[in-house]
Symmetry: C5
Subunit: 83 residues, 5 copies
């Protein structure tokens, strides 16, 4: 997986029917570059997120045909959990 | 997903039979580099588009065998929707 | 998909059995870098070709097990078709 | 596969339900760049590890839906085995 | 596919059970960068090899679960075959 910070959100009124509902977040990757990732977790701007890519991302959706190749699967804790 | 601007169109008269009909758009990616993406939405030059890649792109087509690894799945709104 | 120019051909006498027959073309990608792509279309040196990658490329072959992750799916027309 | 050194660990309290238990290790790749990989082997900081990516990584988990695209599959021996 | 030269071999005594037997070769790619590829062909150091990546590589193995995303599928002939 790769990590990055949410820096904004996109809207796409004109879209293919099989694109699932959910926020299309604009993420700046920690190693450079950007992605647009589907967010099922309700993340906000500035949040540090974990992203999975490829067919693995599409597998999250019930519809096999979801055309999603980047999915936010977690929000990274800023500090390790206290024991 | 990745985003980019449509900068042109390609034609391929000599092609394999299983390549679906549809425009082969030349896209300049926002992070640099280029892709050729199948466009089911009728996007035009200059449009800011969202692209999904890999087997997820091929899954859009009814034929399982569509040899398409880059698909335009949305046109990004230039402004967020007004509320 | 990505585009590039055919710059040569490779032979591999020592190969795994499931590699399909067909030319292994050496392609210089338009964005830089190189690939070796299986060519079912009979393309020649200097030809501008369109390449699909990943499991989508393997899906072209009848054998599910074809170990091919780069396939030439079209030859790009040097000019748009006249109307 | 690609290789790298474990340099830390991430926690994600807020995560999607289908993300399997297991350490999310922060790996600096030998060629540069970083990944976050699921670790089923109990690797520690500084360990030199081998990582597989994509749907192949997800295939390790019993649940078909595991949203994991980077998995540590081995720890590289610092020296070849003595004969 | 991509090409490269074998520059060494890795051993991984600590590994997941589903990693198939076979040499884990260290390959320097012709375009730069490195990979670790499973070698079913018995290639040696200095050999110029062809590598397939992703789920296509895993498909070579009888076990569907083989966590292999890079496979040597051929050794490139230094010269074209004489006719």
């Amino acid at each position: 997986m790769i990590s990055g910070r949410v820096i904004g959100r996109y809207w796409a009124t004109k879209r293919i029917d099989t694109l699932p509902q959910g926020a299309l977040l604009h993420v700046r990757l920690d190693d450079g570059g950007h992605l647009v990732a589907l967010d099922p977790l309700g993340c906000g701007e500035g949040e540090h997120v974990l992203i999975t890519q490829g067919s693995v991302a599409a597998g999250y959706f019930q519809t096999v045909k979801a055309p999603v190749d980047a999915l936010i699967i977690g929000s990274l804790d800023e500090q390790p959990p206290s024991k």
